[in-house]
Symmetry: C2
Subunit: 435 residues, 2 copies
């Protein structure tokens, strides 16, 4: 007989790994693990204590995380985001060894730290810095190398936001349209009378909790509904992103405040796919990966009907996300071609409304805002970023003509845990490169 509680929780565990931007207070204490020391899933077979399965309750926590971030596709069904058959674009290199020694003072600290020390402190798996379009720093660790792909978590959202802004700029999507006008199935849900812009900026009012400390939070039902693994035979709930989204209820009025809820991005993904007739992974392939000469195909985790997870399903190569960052810095141009309308990038880089954002209380982003699924720092350099839990980021600094992409497997999910040793470091490198 099945133990249905065990089984259910196994399916539910899938979600925390991929959605969201809220802290999971993991009890595990992760040690830094270098590529050579990484003990997980080595050997034929791996020794029993270092096997990671999709049924493990802790596959996305602590030390296991350091393997899983590079291998989500080996644990779960996924969909290929094709790089296509074009020759790969290659960045020029202008490596600057001094960057490793750049010193900065972490937030809430008096103790200086070097860039290299921060690399370790943040459980970094891959880190690249572009300046004026050339690679000035690049380093891999943990489970990652230049041939590998890494979970980007909610960085995925920013790419979906970029797709939406592109369609808006091209006149293929109306930001004032109500979701129900584009996806009638959403009519009776909270999304029904939200505009595309409300969803894009996450200023919808949704009766939906992403509080992982609450066992009754909606996020757990979302995890069950969107799991690609078999569910208990008596499970009667929604069985896909699309089915779940239809069940979300409203709580208040849209447009009043920013509230970070992953389901907005999945609703946006639905709107985009219904508008274009293409999956978000195929659209990203056609609009970005293929024309920009990506080096590697990427993958998207999927639900049980093959829908790519818009809210956080992308695993990609480090340099391929650097190409995205450089395209953003160049207002949609890459390698001499205008791949994305400049207007789409400008709508993002200008940032959102800090007053709507302030209500959400992000301690490490006191002046921040969120627009079109991107985070703006509203600092002197006009920096903005894609951000995903456990330390994933594409950080764009227009003033310094700098792009940073980082993949990490920090044991604490919330970026409030790595921002103190990241954001001042990024600023210090920006200052150095701007000299």
């Amino acid at each position: 007989m099945f133990n249905s509680n065990h089984k259910m929780s196994s399916a539910l565990r899938w979600l925390p790994s991929v959605c969201l931007g809220i802290a999971l207070s993991s009890g595990a204490v992760a040690q830094e693990t270098s590529a050579s020391k990484q003990p997980w899933m080595q050997g034929f077979p791996p020794d029993n204590e270092h096997i990671i399965r999709n049924t493990d309750s802790d596959f996305f926590t602590g030390e296991k995380l350091r393997w899983t971030v590079c291998n989500l596709g080996t644990l779960f069904p996924n969909k290929i985001l094709h790089r296509g058959l074009n020759p790969a674009h290659h960045f020029e290199y202008n490596l600057d060894p001094s960057i490793a020694e750049i010193s900065f003072t972490p937030l809430n600290s008096q103790q200086p730290m070097s860039w290299d020390e921060a690399f370790s402190a943040n459980y970094t798996d891959g880190l690249i810095v572009l300046h004026q379009g050339k690679i000035v720093y690049e380093r891999y660790a943990g489970c990652l190398n230049e041939l590998g792909i890494h979970a980007s978590m909610s960085v995925t959202k920013s790419l979906i936001g970029l797709l939406a802004e592109t369609l808006i700029a091209e006149g293929l999507l109306d930001e004032t349209a109500l979701a129900a006008q584009i996806v009638p199935e959403l009519t009776n849900s909270a999304f029904g009378n939200a505009t595309v812009r409300h969803i894009l900026n996450m200023t919808t009012s949704l009766k939906y909790s992403e509080d992982y400390s609450d066992p009754n939070a909606d996020v757990w039902q979302y995890g069950a509904a969107t799991s690609p693994l078999p569910m208990p035979a008596d499970y009667q709930g929604p069985r896909s992103y699309f089915e779940y989204l239809q069940s979300v209820k409203k709580e208040g009025e849209h447009g009043q405040a920013f509230a970070y809820k992953t389901i907005n991005t999945d609703a946006l993904g639905w709107i985009i796919s219904r508008s274009t007739g293409q999956s978000i992974s195929d659209l990203l392939s056609e609009r970005l990966w293929q024309p920009m000469g990506a080096e590697q195909s990427a993958i998207f985790t999927v639900d049980s009907i093959g829908t790519p997870f818009a809210g956080g399903g992308l695993s990609a190569g480090l340099r391929d996300l650097a190409r995205i960052g450089q395209l953003m810095l160049n207002e949609g141009q890459f390698n001499g071609k205008q791949l994305i309308p400049a207007q789409a990038v400008r709508s993002i880089s200008v940032g959102g409304d800090p007053q709507l954002f302030a209500k959400a209380g992000y301690s490490t982003l006191p002046n921040g805002s969120y627009k079109s699924m991107w985070w703006s720092y509203h600092n002197a350099n006009g920096a903005y970023a894609a951000r995903g839990i456990h330390g994933q980021t594409i950080y764009i600094d227009p003033s310094a003509k700098m792009v940073i992409v980082r993949f990490a497997s920090h044991p604490q999910a919330a970026n409030t845990h790595n921002d103190p040793t990241s954001l001042p470091a990024y600023q210090a490198v920006a200052d150095y490169l701007s000299q």
Copy 2:
């Protein structure tokens, strides 16, 4: 509560899809479906009657097969076989429109058929013909295009056999060694006192049935043991390829007859990985996909501990398997480089022992043999092939300097159903190209 019977059978259903070369007598009658007509998994969401899930009992039969063969990774966890970062090799084209009209007489028939008619009759998804290293014919249908990958089924075995022959030629693997000497865990299994050569040629004597008409056949336990999906909580059996292989018992003496049993290839994969310290997918990447300039990364389905399925787990691009075929035709050379020792290829192309093979009674291969996981036809042209159920093949004709790769989704698994409209067609094109 779970319905454990339902769940169990769901896990078990996974296997028939991927192992083996024995007929499944599917009751479904598949209609030919062109790429444009293919109704499965289209739309956001697909309509209910055209959704395919990994829990469907029939995901690898009939019409559903026509979608699934291109999308195994969207249903099941899998491991990337990286193409690497090298520029892709490109074939020259010398397309010959006359090939489509070439006529042949199917086996056991008086009625002539054209190459193009055979394309449809065989439920072909992709078909390419190389002559003297140039593409003379190439066509896609069904779910496949040049950007896609397709299940190769037991063609996988031939690539594992090629790896083994390569290691033997390089002195890294001793074909006379007993499996137990290389993998001590196999000591008490049937494989323990089999030589590498017995396993490589499938002349082991194993108490193991791949008879799908028998609900108690061992193949069903193998399917359960090697499923990457969660198992019932009370399941106590083996949970990986490696665990299952240790449980296989002997029946008779090794070396007496050819008996096609997929588990030989998984044992060979284990021997290769233990010998080299690399997974078969990483080894194929390093030895073939990267140096030959593959256009696409491929994938391998995996078990619950991430072991690639050596017996049938590879999905790859059509032209990439054509590169393998051309490398075989050129005795290990490709694009001017000796990637594989000529001796490894010659050991395969010379064929096996037809007398050992005859006992297996393959009606469409009256003069055939099997060696190193490749099938030899022993015809006048010295043709040999990799073959996988539902019509997958890499067909190499040394005399005609011809390579054919075909992907298909024939509703009947056993190639005895498509050989009559395939093998005489290959010979007719070989004759035409040899004029």
